[in-house]
Symmetry: C2
Subunit: 192 residues, 2 copies
DNA sequence: ACTTCACTGTGACCTTTGTCAACAGGCGTT
DNA sequence: AACGCCTGTTGACAAAGGTCACAGTGAAGT
């Protein structure tokens, strides 16, 4: 079960893991199963784990005063899920993270993060993730303020075809910040 | 001239700098002046420096096919300016960074980044910056997909009152992804 | 002093998108 | 088989925001 994680760490940390290091990781990471619709994180709670998805799919969202959900992340295998702010700074989260399919995770407990970061490949990976996340959210932001709804959808579809397959359209619409009807119409129009 | 930078590094890196380290930094960082409207980075070029603003103000923006500008960052003293993707991965940038006021910078050359990262406080600061940037762009994204134009402006004003003072309204509007007229109307309406 | 230019505000109009509502298909549960 | 529930689609209408045009102000440059 840890192999996808080891692969991931070695790829993004740009270093190989020794057997001893793997063993150390094995002892720290906690396996966890979530059933569809179960929460990984709820608003107001501190996000004490960062999770690595081995199998399944999750969504992260906030809920505004009117009760509307706004999706910030849709994640599948080999993605990390967390509220970075809450996890790093131990502050209450504004977000929910919910399993959208039955999901298997590996959890990185916040209180053992420093131990894990002693492993060079993990440190490198963490660095790279932070970097990549920052770059990706910058691009998403650029799209969001620059492009009309349809274009944003097209970009998204091109970037994450598998996500589009596995989540219903109204979730994608929420991720893009548009109404599900708008997405539906945009799609049918772009077929002609 | 380097004192604001040293303060910044110690604050965000959560470690003090020795005199030897300060000397090392002094030898690597390049002072640079930009006059108003001069470019720090142009689209298509690789961003070979990351700049620390000692005095002045800059804006980072992309230009779409219709020639419209979309502002990604408005920066003043004690902010870093760079295209992270271009800088880290040495790829051509999609962005412009332009001095909005006469500006004094300290430049961190990409080819000497590894040297600088040997200094623990700098490594810590870099980490923290990446973290903070990611968290900030996540919040901005959440606002952008969740809130109507006026609310976004109010949030922004509350978060960065000094930026609002120093940049003209049409730049702020572009940062928020709205037309300058919309912002103008929103402002006059919220006074009543 | 005069011109120019950048910036802001406002009205009229149009486009895009959101909202509300109704409907239909699929799918699992009982 | 019957019932919900989730999902996607479509229409009618409303609201938000964009576009275009014009005017006024003030600062900078000549």
């Amino acid at each position: 079960m840890l192999d996808p994680l080891f692969d991931y760490i070695q790829r993004y940390g740009k270093q190989l893991l020794s057997e001893a290091e793997k063993e150390r990781i094995r002892r720290i990471m906690l396996p966890k199963r979530l059933r569809r619709k179960q929460y990984f994180l709820e608003e107001g709670k501190v996000c004490t784990y960062t999770g690595f998805i081995v199998r399944g799919a999750t969504r992260q969202f906030s809920v505004d005063e009117q009760g509307n959900e706004h999706i910030l992340q849709l994640a599948i295998e080999n993605w990390w899920i967390t509220d970075r702010d809450s996890y790093m700074n131990r502050t209450p989260s504004k977000y929910f993270i919910e399993a959208w399919e039955d999901t298997e995770l590996l959890l990185m407990p916040r209180e053992r993060l420093d131990e894990l970061l002693e492993i060079p490949a993990i440190k490198g990976m963490f660095w790279q993730m932070s970097e990549n996340n920052h770059i990706a959210s910058q691009k998403r932001l650029d799209d969001t303020i620059s492009l009309p709804a349809i274009k944003r959808y097209e970009h998204f579809e091109q970037l994450y075809p598998e996500i589009v397959q596995r989540f219903p359209a109204h979730q994608i619409a929420s991720y893009l910040g548009i109404a599900r009807e708008t997405l539906s119409r945009a799609r049918s129009r772009s077929l002609r």
